[in-house]
């Protein structure tokens, strides 16, 4: 199962944009006329192919909405039977839960990147602290 081709790269492109839909990104990739394979997923697309072509195409997609499209490399090729759900009897693939957790954070991260580009000042954030043990004891005893 070893692919042996080290210059093949797979990237996950996660789209969290109000102006760009996953299908827009996919169309952009289809239009690139390069020798790459793409797979549309529920959070964006996966792009596989020669390193240079993938990097170029991914950059074009990210430029559609720079602060709201996020990219990371992926170890396995799309459809690799060691990860693909079709050959593993269904269920989420390993790594999906973490990706989903981070995808839920992306809208606020995107807004924060917009603010950083605008050089918006940072407000003081009050950190919620864990409840002190002594206070908890007082609370428990006060109800007895």
């Amino acid at each position: 199962m070893a692919e042996g081709d080290n210059d093949t790269l797979t990237k996950i492109v996660v789209i969290s944009s109000d102006s760009v839909l996953p299908v827009d990104a996919a169309m952009k990739i289809y239009q690139s006329h390069t020798d790459i394979v793409i797979k549309e997923t529920c959070f964006g697309t996966m792009v596989t192919g020669p390193r240079d072509a993938v990097n170029r195409v991914v950059k074009e997609v990210v430029d559609l909405d720079r602060n709201h499209i996020f990219v990371k490399e992926r170890g396995f090729l799309p459809g690799d039977e060691r990860r693909c759900r079709s050959s593993r009897g269904g269920g989420p693939r390993p790594g999906f839960h973490y990706l989903r957790h981070e995808v839920q954070m992306l809208p606020t991260i995107g807004k924060a990147l917009d603010a950083y580009d605008r050089k918006a000042p940072l407000k003081e954030v009050k950190q919620k602290k864990k409840l002190d043990v002594d206070k908890l004891e007082d609370l428990i005893e006060s109800h007895l």
Partner: protein, 155 residues
Amino acid sequence: MVKVIIYPTNSLILSDLVERFGHQPIAMMEKIKEKISTVSVDSPPLNITAEDPKMGLKYAAVEVPAGVRGRMAIVGPMIDDAQAGIIVNESPMAFGCMGCARTNELTKYLIRQRDMPVLEVDYPRGDNEEEAKEFVYKIAEFLKSLPKDEEEGKA
């Protein structure tokens, strides 16, 4: 460009931010790719060879569970290779593929022990925009403070 190790080692947000601000993320994904695409023993889901447990022994003693040593065989060389680090604490999802709490503790400990710039931040909670801003600003400023090229780093 500086090699920045990220923790959690498979984080989309951290990997993207490091690359966005002009550095090279050292992440689990690329190591897994090397592992599965190197021609060697074909042992799904990973190509584990006899060398791997030995590599893990460099980072964790023999009494430590095999899972920790196996993970450290991949994570350990990543830490050795790094020139800077970003640790995000309070990750509610540091399980699943990330595996094991002991490996996570050891990973964070070894990153802190290295003589290199390390930033520690907390994950923003929920949809709290101010926390997300603080998270992004701290990481951006940290990454901008790192040298952009090798020569600058040596100076």
